[in-house]
């Protein structure tokens, strides 16, 4: 209910200021995200890619904070920036990929990729533009993103997924170990 939000915003000056800050922050973060995301795509060096992606993710963490999802913001930073991207870096270094610049795809393919992305973007925007009024399901509260709240939901309602995701991890781990280990070749089938 954005209109309601705007009406609400008109009431106090303090909130008007907040609004300006919010909007500024939103656009600022968004711009960083989009630009860094584009750089991830277009910059050739893998290391640079990783760095731009980290920038992008940090900006995204900012968005999470804007969205009252403090817990997510923290987890996001930890998981992505702290773990995943480091993993990427490790692999890049391990495999010495930074030196071996891989030739880009042919121009036609690249143009096609851009065009396809563009069309996809336009179609999705077109489809979601004429969207409908979303009725919030619950009364507005800013507390939902708090650790306590999220934790309660996680360990109450989402206990099963939480538990079961351990299976996911263990299989991923088994896989990583299996692939990572060096052993000698064996016969086919």
């Amino acid at each position: 209910m954005p209109e309601a939000g705007w009406d609400y915003a008109k009431q106090t000056t303090n909130q008007k200021l907040n609004q300006v800050i919010m909007v500024f922050l939103f656009y600022f973060l968004s711009a960083i995200m989009v630009i860094s995301a584009l750089l991830v795509v277009f910059s050739k060096s893998p290391i640079n890619n990783v760095i731009y992606l980290i920038i992008c993710f940090i900006a995204m963490a900012g968005h999470y904070i804007l969205l009252n999802a403090q817990f997510l913001a923290v987890v996001h930073i930890i998981v992505y920036t702290g773990a995943i991207m480091v993993l990427f870096l490790f692999v890049i270094m391990l495999l010495n990929l930074n030196k071996a610049i891989i030739p880009q795809k042919s121009a036609v393919t690249r143009i096609m990729a851009v065009v396809t992305g563009g069309i996809f973007f336009l179609v999705l925007i077109a489809a979601t533009r004429q969207t409908f009024v979303i009725n919030p399901r619950y009364a507005f509260t800013s507390e939902i993103g708090l650790v306590a709240n999220v934790g309660k939901t996680l360990f109450h309602e989402f206990l099963l997924p939480f538990e079961i995701s351990s299976v996911l991890f263990i299989s991923a781990m088994v896989g990583a170990v299996m692939f990572g280990k060096r052993d000698h070749a064996v016969g086919d089938d």
């Binding site: 795809k105 393919t109 096609m112 990729a113 396809t116 069309i119 996809f120 179609v123 999705l124 489809a127």
Partner: protein
């Protein structure tokens, strides 16, 4: 049938004897020694003849005109009741007597004639089978039983024409005969079916009694008669289905005598005479028969002028005579037709047997240009042959005179033009018959190294009997002109309903006879001058000839025409269907469905490029299309 005639049930014996003969000679093929098969076969036919005679007298004694002998129900479904039954009446008795009588003589003759042949037993088996079929044909009490015999004789004719099966040309002739007959048979069977649906029965007596309810010229009757006529044309070798008969001379000579002169080819005449009541109702068909008959008579006679094979001459003369019989039928004088059948059976069988005797004597030579002077060497054969020639030429008082004159006078009654044409044909007949006689028996012997000799008794005795019949056969029916009472015609009158016609006055008749006799005499004289006095021997085949002669000696190119119009296109059509339609359209079309499917498969397979970026693109494209799809739909 009012009451059962005692002993008439013996009728089944008539076909049974030849059948028995067929089975014995056929199955015991290997065990029978030289003449045994011939003797058995002849005996069987002779027995049939005797039984027929007995039947003749039995029927006579009973005072009734006809009797039906039912053996069993052949087909009996729904409204269709077709018993396997025999009809014994004057017409069938006449035919039975001819078939068994002449047949017996020819069988006996064959004992001598086929003496040296290795497969004599098969020969007699087939001859007996023929006799059996022919008897079924004439005795059948309904069209379907008639049809059994009809096809049966066709089969035997096929077998016997191709008796010397090593020769491909003979086989071809045999097949040609069978196929042409089959074409006729198709018309015949269709005619029977139309009959069945018109009258709900195929039994003669029932049909004829119902036929009274139809107007003359009723379309359905015309249709029926036309279809039956097709059958008759095929079997009796009329235009346009006559070319098989001359070729049929490939068979042994007794076969030609029995099947292709005396009996089988007259089946068509028998059938039309049998259906006389129907034909009387169809004037249109009768006119067609006249045209066919007359045309056949003249064209065949013309062709006969230039034939050099002794049997071919006789064959064309047979065709020609059959044309006369057709003419008689067309004129509504069915009895006259049957009478000519009878006399023709005598003299034509005699001619063929005589020719056989000659061929036998000449060691298989059939070309009359190489014969000559046989009169001295084979006097008996000569005299019998002469008798037959006089008979066929219509010289009184030989049998041919009476029957042919009857037909000519009927033609005269109908129209003067018919008469003139028919008489013309008769004169030609006379000419080529005497040409044959002169060339074979007069002059000098032309074939070096041949030692002609008279045939053995077993062959000559039938010749003598037949020549007696040929000479005196005509007295069966002495017309009122000669103070006779037309016994034969009267006898048949109970079974065959001829069209009523005004009798010619005796003076006119005498005038006609005298005129024709005069012309015949001239022709004979002319023939004598040409072939005996001047000893002109017909040219060799290669020598150039004037157009008309060439046309005639090439049989009007009718065979060639058939080859060009039917055989070649048929072969072409067959090839076309097989090579072009079947193998380039239909079959590939089916395969093409499969191939196209596979081709599309191969095309789709190309999508699976193995390239990751392509897969990714494809997925995105798919998703995009589906988004657009669901947004639009």
């Amino acid at each position: 049938m009012v009451e059962q005639i005692p002993n008439i049930n013996l009728a089944w014996l008539v076909p049974a004897f030849p059948l028995l003969g067929f089975l014995v000679t056929g199955l015991a093929n290997k065990r029978l020694k030289h003449n045994q098969a011939g003797i058995i076969a002849s005996a069987m036919v002779l027995l049939s003849f005797l039984v027929s005679l007995v039947l003749f007298f039995v029927l006579r004694a009973s005072g009734q005109n006809e009797a039906t002998v039912t053996l069993f129900n052949w087909i009996s479904i729904g409204g269709m009741n077709i018993p396997f039954a025999f009809l014994i009446d004057h017409l069938s008795l006449t035919m039975m007597l001819i078939i068994t009588g002449v047949g017996a003589l020819i069988h006996i003759y064959s004992i001598g004639y086929m003496h040296d042949d290795g497969r004599v037993n098969s020969f007699f088996a087939q001859m007996n089978l023929f006799t059996f079929s022919m008897l079924l044909l004439v005795m059948g009490a309904n069209y379907l039983v008639l049809f059994i015999g009809w096809e049966g004789v066709g089969l035997c004719s096929y077998l016997l024409i191709g008796f010397w099966f090593k020769n491909p040309a003979y086989n071809y002739a045999a097949r040609k005969a069978f196929v042409m007959n089959r074409i006729g048979d198709l018309g015949f069977i269709l005619g029977i079916i139309v009959l069945f649906f018109t009258f709900k029965t195929v039994t003669f007596s029932e049909i004829f009694s119902q036929a009274a309810g139809f107007q003359a010229g009723a379309p359905v009757i015309t249709l029926i008669t036309l279809l039956l006529l097709v059958g008759a044309v095929g079997k009796s070798a009329q235009i346009p289905l006559f070319t098989w008969l001359p070729d049929a001379m490939a068979g042994p000579t007794p076969v030609s005598a029995l099947i292709h002169a005396a009996t089988m080819v007259t089946a068509g005449i028998y059938m039309i005479a049998r259906s006389s009541i129907l034909y009387n109702l169809a004037p249109f068909t009768l006119n067609i028969i006249i045209v066919i008959g007359l045309a056949t008579a003249i064209i065949a006679a013309l062709i006969g002028l230039k034939q050099n094979d002794i049997k071919k001459v006789l064959a064309y003369s047979t065709v020609s005579q059959l044309g006369y019989m057709f003419l008689a039928l067309g004129l509504g004088a069915y009895s006259a037709g049957v009478f000519h059948v009878t006399t023709h059976a005598f003299f034509k069988a005699l001619l063929f047997l005589g020719a056989g005797s000659v061929i036998h004597a000449m060691g298989g030579e059939q070309d009359i240009r190489k014969m000559g002077g046989l009169r001295k060497k084979m006097p008996l054969t000569y005299f019998t042959f002469l008798a037959a020639t006089l008979a066929i030429s219509g010289i009184p008082p030989f049998s041919g005179f009476f029957s042919k004159d009857l037909i000519l006078s009927k033609a005269f009654e109908h129209s003067i033009i018919l008469y003139i044409l028919a008489l013309g044909g008769a004169l030609i007949t006379c000419f080529y018959m005497f040409r044959l006689l002169y060339l074979v028996f007069f002059g000098e012997q032309r074939l070096a190294g041949a030692h002609p000799h008279e045939s053995p008794k077993v062959m000559t005795i039938p010749l003598i009997i037949l020549s007696v019949l040929s000479v005196f056969g005509g007295f069966l029916n002495i017309p009122s002109l000669f103070n006779g009472d037309s016994k034969f015609i009267t006898f048949l009158q109970t079974a065959v309903v001829s069209k009523a016609s005004e009798e010619l006055s005796h003076s006119t008749e005498i005038g006609l006879i005298l005129g024709s006799l005069l012309l015949l005499g001239l022709v004979i004289f002319f023939a004598y001058r040409t072939f005996v006095s001047k000893s002109i021997i017909p040219a060799k085949d290669e020598e150039p000839m004037p157009f008309f002669s060439k046309l005639i000696s090439n049989k009007f190119y009718i065979d060639e025409m058939y080859t060009a119009v039917f055989e070649k296109p048929f072969g072409f059509l067959s090839d076309f269907f097989y090579n072009k339609v079947e193998n380039t359209v239909l079959d590939p079309a089916v395969d093409e469905i499969g191939v196209t499917t596979a081709r599309v498969g191969a095309l789709l397979r190309k999508l699976q490029q193995g390239n990751m970026s392509f897969y990714l693109f494809a997925m995105v494209a798919g998703i995009l299309l589906f988004i657009i799809f669901i947004l639009i739909v």
